[in-house]
Chain length 236, copies 2
DNA sequence: CTCTGTGAAGTCATTCACAGCG
DNA sequence: CGCTGTGAATGACTTCACAGAG
């Protein structure tokens, strides 16, 4: 077990592996090899072994990985063995949709409050679990009282940095940002931005290309043998 | 002007640059240097020049870039000078939220239809522009009639691959996927997956670490001079 | 003199390839 | 044997550093 800095690409993949393992487990499958896993998401098997190798030696040579065992390890590594309490700032369409989104409220993540500055909305409740909409001014107090450790920013771009500053002041260390804005966070605070506009515009670029003649490129003629693990598109 | 394969990281950044240029333009600013742009999003200025350099020589030495000029170029490069028509599959919470989301419906992207398989929902309309909810079975016909060129998948994971297949059969080449699933697309079809679960779990990993002592590492003592362009977190 | 455009160098990520365990 | 774990090789992306245009 090393102690290197783990890239976010790796942690993203760990999350995906875990999801797959959960499916395997409920299908009653007991063991899985890195090769089998790799085929699920078109990925190289060495990638998976490397990713896991950062955290320990979980496999058995000649066999592969025990599904339940690896599942537990990944759950622990990702910190999903402890519950997380989520606050969503912005009770607009996106914020309220996210509050209800299963997979967001799922399992270890519980949305405990929404915040807004609109007097009309404050005092209201969202969804079947009646998540309260609170005044964004009270965010610092609520974060502490409710032990919120993850914040979601779902406000317009121009308000995003201000909101982030409030969130950071309240001591939250992990933020998922949906505002199309470049936020400056201080060291020790992790901001992940999901920028829908950029995603769409990037797709638009792809559409604008003259079909980008897919370069199948035979490479150095001799060794093009095992070009089987086709990776059409790197989704991970 | 070269003709290399452009990485998605580059196209994502181009989108961000464009957004920034639009802001600069409406602030009445006429020219901007790569250095100034780089400071906005903590990024290296050479990165910006490289990104732009793939597509032409847009700058003026000693000056920088003319905002309006560069804006037009990027708009064209990203294919945002032509309108895109978007179909959203899945009229659940997320799908309907996205249909209303400004920035999604904004400017060149118009959501023209939602699709669902729920008889209760089919025939209904969403939002002020009354976007119709149609039977997902009719997707192929509607895509052609309405010339939809971008699809959004907002259905549960287990249905996602099936929906993607239908979408591809209808001839759509660009897909934004919100289902937490590894989709297999055929060559020539671009799928971008936004996986909220993975984003959250990745944040959870970060929280689980013992504060990951931020390695400020003085590096090879001598040449640590210009370590000013702090890149706390690579958000792009 | 300033700022672009770009090879060269550097850093980070993925894939290969194989020793060695079970 | 089959499959893991991992150095070494390759490839991708970023940053440096500087020639040269304005």
């Amino acid at each position: 077990m090393k102690r290197e800095k783990i890239s976010e690409l790796t942690t993203n993949r760990l999350s995906v592996y875990l999801r797959c393992l959960n499916e395997l487990a409920s299908a009653g499958i007991k063991t899985v090899s890195s090769q089998e896993l790799a085929e699920q998401f078109n990925l190289n098997s060495a990638q998976i072994r490397k990713d896991l190798g950062y955290f320990g030696e979980f496999g058995v040579r000649g066999i592969g990985y025990f599904v339940d065992d690896l599942r537990e390890h990944l759950t622990k590594i990702l910190g999903l063995d402890r519950p997380h309490r989520v606050g969503i700032v912005g009770a607009g369409r996106l914020g309220t949709a996210l509050a209800n989104y299963h997979g967001f409220s799922k399992s270890t993540f519980t949305v405990v409050a929404l915040f807004d500055n609109d007097k009309e909305k404050i005092g209201g409740h969202i969804g079947p679990s009646r998540i309260p909409i609170l005044d964004v001014k009270k965010i610092e107090k609520v974060v502490r009282d409710q032990t919120i450790d993850v914040a979601v920013i779902a406000v317009p771009a121009r308000a995003a940095q201000r909101v982030l500053n409030q969130i950071m002041a309240a001591g939250v260390k992990a933020v998922l940002n949906f505002a199309p804005a470049l936020l400056k966070a201080r060291l020790g605070v992790k901001v992940k931005t999901v920028d829908l506009t950029t995603s769409l515009e990037s797709l638009s670029y792809f559409l604008a290309r003259p079909q980008e003649t897919q370069v199948v490129s035979a490479r150095r003629s001799g060794s093009a043998r095992k070009r089987v693990e086709t990776r059409t598109s790197r989704q991970l």
